[in-house]
Subunit: 203 residues, 2 copies
């Protein structure tokens, strides 16, 4: 593509590094910014810089936070249960369900030997330490990991490492999504949903 200016080319180059944004969209965005007040671009540029430079991660649960002590310290939270997730968006998704009021622990990834990511690259050690340090306050660790080979590997590893602490380890249910129809559900999910069926009460 031919660009009208070096500055536009540079901006397109940088914008199109973002996931899901190609050169054409990047050009459209850059030209759009040029038509808006200068203050808008300044605010965007500044907010990105601040985001990357000033962001902190909670030292306990590794959630993105403004300070190093995040909401995991809020007294209203149920401190007897820790939900282990792979990344920050998962925390938001689970919070948005309104079904969970416990603590979180963000691994920052999952064990994936294929990509050279071992147990040391994700925050498993700090999870184990956290459970141990809590004395016996933490009663349960819920694994909310993705239902993939890597997610399962991570789950097995964590379970093994937590064994000596005696804490209860559970995993979120895998099964048919709410609203899902049997005939369109894939065999693996259906098989698993039968194997892990739960008692049903009509009361």
């Amino acid at each position: 593509m031919e660009y009208p200016s070096k500055l536009v080319e540079q901006a397109v180059e940088e914008i199109s590094r973002l996931p899901g944004i190609g050169k054409k969209t990047a050009l459209r965005l850059a030209l759009h910014l040029l038509k808006q007040p200068e203050s808008q671009t300044a605010a965007l540029s500044e907010s990105l810089k601040d985001l990357r430079e000033q962001i902190k991660y909670c030292q306990t649960c590794h959630i993105i936070a403004d300070t190093e002590d995040c909401t995991c310290q809020t007294p209203s939270r149920d401190t007897t249960v820790i939900c282990v997730v792979e990344d920050t968006p998962d925390v938001l998704a689970i919070r948005n369900t309104g079904q969970y009021n416990g603590l979180f622990h963000v691994l920052g990834g999952r064990i994936s030997p294929m990509d050279g990511i071992g147990p040391d690259q994700v925050k498993i050690d700090s999870l184990i330490a956290r459970v141990k340090q809590s004395g016996s306050e933490v009663k349960e660790v819920i694994l909310a990991l993705s239902s993939t080979m890597e997610g399962d590997t991570t789950a097995f590893y964590i379970t093994k490492m937590l064994k000596e602490t005696g804490v209860k380890v559970s995993t979120i249910a895998r099964g048919i999504p709410v609203g899902g129809e049997l005939e369109y559900t894939d065999e693996l999910t259906l098989g698993r949903s039968i194997a892990t069926r739960t008692l049903f009460s009509a009361d």
Copy 2:
């Protein structure tokens, strides 16, 4: 939506002002940046700032350019014809066809009384002045405007204003797109393509 941090919220706010990007996509982009090296975000932030602050528009043809004298001054261009377009992307689109080697004139919009945009808000005066100043070097003005009410209004106005200069005014052909099938072409386009039919030679 609940955000893990004020910084993330601010970034999402700014990113989602861009056209076609909602809050969810903005959040995904912000969290993506947090996983990349800090230098990437710095480069993005910087390039946007530079783009908006340093960009220039050619004083003659109003194309986005790095300097105030743009490629419209290149001697290899055909200086007897000016193609009038609404905006910079149109210039790129026409350049990419490889079918045109003349000059450009970017109006920066089109006359639209509904939106309160009159002839003074677009660069029509400077087009007229440009044609007049060229002596009789400019022989033809090609109007490459969008095929809408506003585009047509702008075309009529420019044609009227150029009348006294005696320059030839043409408009790009409206008709069936290359590869288009008759039965799927809308009636207006088809009607116009018949009215403005061109001589066909089998030589």
